[in-house]
């Protein structure tokens, strides 16, 4: 009897295997598990069997019955899924059509982009970002930066003055972001590490000079800060901006509010500082020099500390460095923009090139 059950199982498995529609499967189910099925009959007649056969036949029969039920259930699900897949495959769209509704893509101005990048680099080096007024007192723009009245350096930076009958030449458009050095020191004692990005103005207009442009000022004041620290800081910053292989060069220069003063250059990232390209031609970016001029810097002049002595800046106990450079210059170099004036023309065909 047990052998018979096993034969039924084999038959049934083959029949389930062979069924390829829901109705065929239902027929199979009725044939092997229905009320009139042989297996059902066997199980129903267990009581009539000799006692020693009842156990094995009952357990085998029930096991086979369960197995067949599971098998059919699984097959039903498989067939249902196959039918769904078949109907989905027929329900097609053209996936190459554009998304809808179309969304306009906006853009951030390259100056803002560049400013943010510089800010992020300097924040990583431990600097705060500050803003200061663009319409400024002569005191902050010149006097407290060690440009005494009548100093020729005042003439170097052709200054826009604000019309004010009472205070002639007392209010001006800042010619650099440096006035914030003094404001920041007035507001907080050392150590101070800050940068100031912002608009600056000089009375000058041609392909390489704009009457309005953007600078970033940097100032670090504390105990034991040296010119070597300035070099390391600028190098770290320039490598973030222009790549890890860049070198820095500092040339002595003169600014009234730093002493010693330097101008700093970065090694050319197009020719690697050699001045010539792989094909032997002269590098156009650095004009064959291998270096690109970027900005001015130096150690904060003790006279400047003298203007903020009350705020805790004693030139015998603290030293510091300051630096400044143009944002447009960085943006032009990084993105190959040839004409400064393009930044303020705001042609959307230019703006759309920056994301």
């Amino acid at each position: 009897m047990v052998e018979r059950i096993e034969e039924i199982e084999a038959e049934a498995k083959a029949a389930v295997e062979a069924a390829d529609s829901a109705s065929e499967l239902e027929e199979t189910r009725v044939r092997f598990l229905g009320r009139k099925a042989e297996l059902t009959g066997i199980l129903r007649g267990i009581a009539d069997l000799p006692p020693e056969q009842r156990g094995p036949v009952g357990s085998t029969g029930n096991k086979v019955r369960k197995a067949l039920e599971g098998l059919i259930e699984a097959k039903v699900e498989g067939l249902r899924n196959a039918e769904l897949e078949k109907s989905l495959a027929g329900d097609r769209i053209d996936v190459s059509l554009p998304g809808s509704p179309a969304r306009a893509i906006g853009h951030i101005h390259p100056i803002t982009r560049t400013r943010r990048m510089i800010e992020d680099v300097m924040v990583g080096l431990g600097y705060q970002v500050m803003e200061g007024p663009e319409v400024e007192h002569d005191y902050y723009n010149f006097t407290a930066l060690n440009h005494p009245e009548g100093h020729p350096a005042r003439m170097l930076q052709d200054t826009f003055y604000v019309e004010d009958e009472e205070h002639v030449e007392q209010v001006l458009l800042r010619t650099h972001t440096s006035p914030m050095q003094v404001r920041a020191m007035e507001a907080s004692p050392p150590p101070l590490f800050m940068i100031v990005p912002g608009k600056t103005y000089r009375r000058d207009s041609d392909a390489t000079h704009s009457p309005m442009f953007h600078q970033v000022e940097g100032l670090a004041v504390g105990e034991g800060i040296t010119l070597a620290d300035l070099k390391g800081t600028l190098l770290a910053m320039l490598r973030e901006i222009f790549g890890p292989d860049r070198e820095i060069r500092m040339r002595p220069h003169f600014f009234p509010f730093t002493e010693p003063s330097v101008e700093f250059d970065v090694s050319c990232f197009r020719c690697g500082g050699s001045g010539s390209l792989d094909d032997g031609s002269r590098c156009g970016l650095c004009k064959g020099i291998g270096w690109i001029e970027l900005g001015g810097a130096g150690m904060v002049d003790p006279n400047v500390f003298g203007f903020v002595a009350d705020a805790g800046y004693d030139p015998d106990s603290v030293t510091g460095f300051a630096f400044g450079f143009g944002i447009e210059r960085i943006a032009m170099l990084r993105h190959g923009v040839g004409d400064l004036r393009l930044f303020f023309d705001n042609d959307v065909r230019m703006l759309e090139q920056f994301s």
């Binding site: 809808s100 179309a102 969304r103 306009a104 906006g106 853009h107 951030i108 101005h109 803002t112 080096l125 431990g126 705060q128 970002v129 500050m130 803003e131 200061g132 007024p133 319409v135 007192h137 902050y140 005494p148 009548g150 020729p152 003439m155 170097l156 003055y161 604000v162 019309e163 002639v168 209010v171 458009l173 914030m180 003094v182 404001r183 507001a187 150590p191 590490f193 009457p211 670090a220 504390g222 105990e223 034991g224 800060i225 040296t226 010119l227 070597a228 070099k231 390391g232 770290a236 820095i248 040339r251 002595p252 003169f254 002493e259 010693p260 150690m299 003790p302 030293t319 705001n346 959307v348």
Partner: protein
């Protein structure tokens, strides 16, 4: 400052190619703008010739046929210059010589006459630009002499960009000393102390100290009276007289050096003043002493309106802020700027007064600016020279006057001097250099560097006591200045390590405002707007274009005193003008739509500042002179989103832009409301019916609306919508970073809709406010999902459909609980004139 290499090499020849020297100078603090080679690329083939005969060309009126001795025999040269004549000493370019610009001289037939070379003009040799004829040399070097021996042919000239503190580098000797310190090549004594002055003219050691020694029979003091009425403006005035002066052209070498330096030779006496200035850095002026009545000069402030005829042929009107040199009849010069024509040296001059004076730098700078006059003299004086330089100049000039003009110096100087500036030595403390530079340089090496630069150094232990030379007096006044001097000569580029500041850690970061500003900008970018950066200055007529009332504070607060042009003469008070102008420009260039925004400052009369730096409240002891809040302005013309294959692009209307603003505020975790305030004036540049005030909480922070058609027309735009808000005020309302978590309820809400008829003019926001007020705590949300007017609705009315959501934090609400709240809401609506529909 132009430095002919050969002239500098009289004092120090660094033995470097000019380009290498330029590079070294750049790395030690003196920018060399460029190195130019004067004249032809090579001196080869240029020789001195003597014109033996010059006759008219038989077949050409303008040409002469000349016989010229060029040392190697006589040759025929056809010459086109009108001034060629027998007896002249000239420069000949022989066949094979290459002219500036690359043309090679060849044997050629000119109208049938064979020409074997070319007689050169100074223009052709790039020695000058003013003369049309050939260059005629006055004294006669032997024919065949290489021209480079008397003329700076193919002479390298360094064009230095001298920083204003380095007055010493406005003299050749100062530059030579710099070359010495850079290269360690030997430096000859100074031209006032035993060094050479020019070919055939030398100084002797102690010339300056011997200025008062007896010379001619006449004493300067007997012929000259100098009165300085204002010592502050003229700290020193020295004068020396000369008799028997033979005025004439300068020798060729002197002319050539002046030309190479960029100056025009005039006559030997005038050329000497210029030569001395170029060599020593101290300007001079020569007077025809016979034209100075009684030899009396008074240095005083000019009177307002006083006029002087200057040497450049112009007349200048002075003010009492300027210093003048006056003779008995009137003004004889503008102090430190330019001499007067009244006592100008001329061919008939025989008695000369040489002035070397010292002037107040800031005063000269101001005078130069006020007169619009800048001379080689003023550009040196304005940087403040030391009074002692006058004596150096007098010593060098005396040697030249004797050597070149055959003059007899009068005995002694007239020297009117204020007390000299003090010259205490400066202490350079041990370790100070390392503390500033971050590089140890031992005391011996420091002393050596300073001495090469002309400083006197005494050791005091490891400290140095440093005496500053007169020509560095105003530049090097403090210990830190000495640190710089040591540093720049110590090859910092190679030696300085690159380190980062050590010491207390510090947090870097963006302020909350800065971080949120980026978020605001990015929100607009994500809404499809392009960021622009507009000019801070604008046209005063913009206020008119925007229909601003002249009384409106935005009609122009900050006006520039010296704008580049009228249309950039005021600072903008709103970003709208910049954005409208940019929209117009882009549309006229073919853009079919624009969506622009700018995040920038406006410049308002000082008044209440907004919060933080973005509100114009900057750090520092003194408030800024004006109020500069950061604004955010967005404008859309045409659709913001483009059309697609299943949606049509719709033009941007008020609500499209309001959605952008709400998205911006929502992205900052806050919300804005827009209201029309009954009776309040609207923005004159906006459509009065389609605009409103933007509020964050109770605070008005800006406006939004359709641009008034008249304003749009000014900018050639069709319909446009815009908003502008004060960024700091919006950020102030943002809870970002400070959000407090509240538990949310697990119990389900009950939603109910209602429709209410209200007057057309009743703002939807007021209806919502009434509902929310009446709904109390159980009403957790109310929104408008439909607005309808037209068929079935009475004229002057509109129907609003509202969805209300009720919910309690601790239980599921039953209808019985909602009912009283619901009737309260309806009652409140009816009280305000609303009629419930359906």
């Amino acid at each position: 400052m132009r430095v002919p290499y050969g002239w500098m090499a009289d004092y120090c020849d660094p033995g470097l190619e000019p380009r290498d020297l330029a590079e070294k100078m750049a790395m030690t603090g003196t920018e060399v703008e460029r190195v130019v080679t004067l004249g032809p690329p090579s001196p080869e083939g240029f020789v001195i010739g003597k014109v033996l005969a010059a006759e008219k060309h038989p077949d050409a009126d303008r040409l002469s046929v000349c016989q010229v001795d060029t040392g190697d025999g006589e040759r025929t040269i056809v010459c086109g210059a009108p001034n060629v004549a027998a007896g002249q000493t000239v420069v000949v370019a022989l066949p094979g010589a290459v002219m500036p610009g690359g043309m090679e001289i060849k044997q050629a037939k000119l109208r049938g006459v064979e020409s074997n070379g070319m007689i050169c003009s100074d223009r052709e040799l790039e020695l000058g630009e003013d003369h049309d004829g050939i260059l005629v040399l006055n004294d006669g070097p032997a024919p065949g002499t290489s021209a480079t021996e008397v003329l700076p042919l193919a002479e390298p000239v360094l064009e230095l960009e001298v920083t204003p503190n380095r007055t010493d580098c406005f003299g050749i000797y100062g530059v030579a000393r710099e070359a010495h310190a850079i290269s360690a090549a030997p430096l000859s004594p100074a031209p006032w102390n035993g060094g050479p002055i020019g070919p055939g003219v030398d100084s002797e050691a102690g010339d300056v100290e011997r200025l008062d020694d007896a010379a001619g029979e006449v004493k300067t003091a007997d012929r000259v009276r100098i009165m300085v009425r204002d010592e502050e403006l003229c700290p020193r005035f020295t004068a020396r007289g000369y008799t028997d002066v033979k005025v004439g052209p300068s020798p060729v070498w002197l002319k050539a050096r002046l030309i190479a330096a960029g100056m025009r030779p005039i006559s030997n006496v005038v050329d000497i003043t210029n030569y001395v200035m170029w060599l020593t850095g101290q300007p001079m002026h020569a007077y025809d002493l016979d034209l100075v009545p009684e030899g009396e000069l008074v240095i005083r402030r000019a009177e307002n309106g006083e006029k002087v005829a200057a040497l450049d042929g112009d007349e200048y009107e002075l003010t009492d802020q300027m210093v003048a040199v006056a003779d008995r009849n009137g003004l004889a010069g503008i102090g430190g700027m330019m001499g007067g024509s009244v006592s100008e040296v001329s061919a008939s001059t025989t008695t000369v007064l040489m002035e070397a004076a010292n002037w107040n730098g800031p005063n000269i700078l101001r005078t130069s600016r006020d007169l619009g006059l800048r001379s080689e003299a003023s550009s040196r004086f304005e940087k403040q020279l030391h009074p002692d330089l006058t004596l150096r100049a007098q010593a060098v000039a005396a040697r030249l006057m004797v050597g070149i003009c055959d003059a007899t110096p009068m005995t002694g100087l007239v020297d009117v001097a204020a007390p000299p500036p003090s010259s205490e030595p400066i202490r350079l403390r041990a370790g100070r250099v390392e503390r500033i530079l971050g590089l140890a340089i031992d005391a011996d090496r420091q002393a050596e560097a300073l001495e090469m630069l002309g400083f006197g150094v005494e050791r005091e232990g490891d400290d140095l006591l440093v005496k500053v030379p007169a020509d560095r007096h105003f530049d090097v006044t403090r210990e830190i200045d000495l640190v710089e001097e040591v540093g720049r000569i110590s090859d910092l580029d190679r030696n300085l390590p690159a380190t980062l500041p050590s010491g207390a850690g510090r947090p870097g970061g963006l302020s909350r405002q800065q971080a949120l500003q980026r978020r605001a900008e990015d929100s607009l970018r994500e809404s499809g707007f392009d960021e622009m950066v507009g000019w801070s200055f604008t046209d005063p007529a913009e206020a008119d274009r925007l229909r601003l009332d002249p009384e409106d504070p935005r009609a122009g607060a900050v006006r520039l005193a010296n704008p580049l042009s009228e249309d950039q003469s005021v600072m903008r008070t709103t970003l709208l003008g910049s954005v409208l102008g940019t929209a117009r420009r882009n549309l006229s260039r073919g853009a079919d739509r624009v969506a622009l925004f700018e995040c920038g400052r406006v410049y308002l009369p000082s008044g209440a500042f907004g919060p933080g730096p973005l509100g114009g409240d900057f750090p520092g002891n003194t408030r800024p002179p004006f109020n500069e809040p950061q604004h955010l302005c967005a404008l859309a013309v045409g659709s913001v989103d483009p059309s697609s294959w299943r949606t049509e692009a719709s033009g941007s209307d008020f609500f499209a832009l309001k959605g952008v603003l709400e998205h911006l505020a929502g992205g900052l975790g806050t919300a804005v409301t827009v209201e029309r305030i009954p009776g309040a004036p609207t923005q004159p540049f906006l459509h009065p019916g389609k605009s409103g005030v933007v509020r964050a909480g109770d605070r008005p922070i800006g406006w939004i609306g359709e641009i008034h058609p008249l304003v749009a027309a000014e900018y050639d735009l069709g319909s446009a919508v815009a908003f502008e808000i004060a960024l700091a005020d919006l950020l102030d309302a943002s809870p970002v970073g400070e959000e407090a978590y509240r538990d949310f309820t697990p119990f389900p809400p009950v939603d109910r809709d209602l429709a209410v008829l209200v007057e057309e003019d009743m703002p939807a926001s007021s209806v919502l406010a009434v509902v929310e007020e009446a709904g109390g705590e159980l009403l957790t949300g109310a929104s408008i999902f439909d607005v309808y007017s037209g068929e079935g609705i009475g004229a002057g009315e509109k129907s609003l459909a509202l969805r209300l959501r009720f919910r309690a934090p601790d239980r599921t609400l039953s209808d019985e609980e909602i009912e009283p709240v619901w009737s309260g809401i309806i009652e409140a609506l009816e009280k305000t004139g609303g009629k419930l529909r359906g």
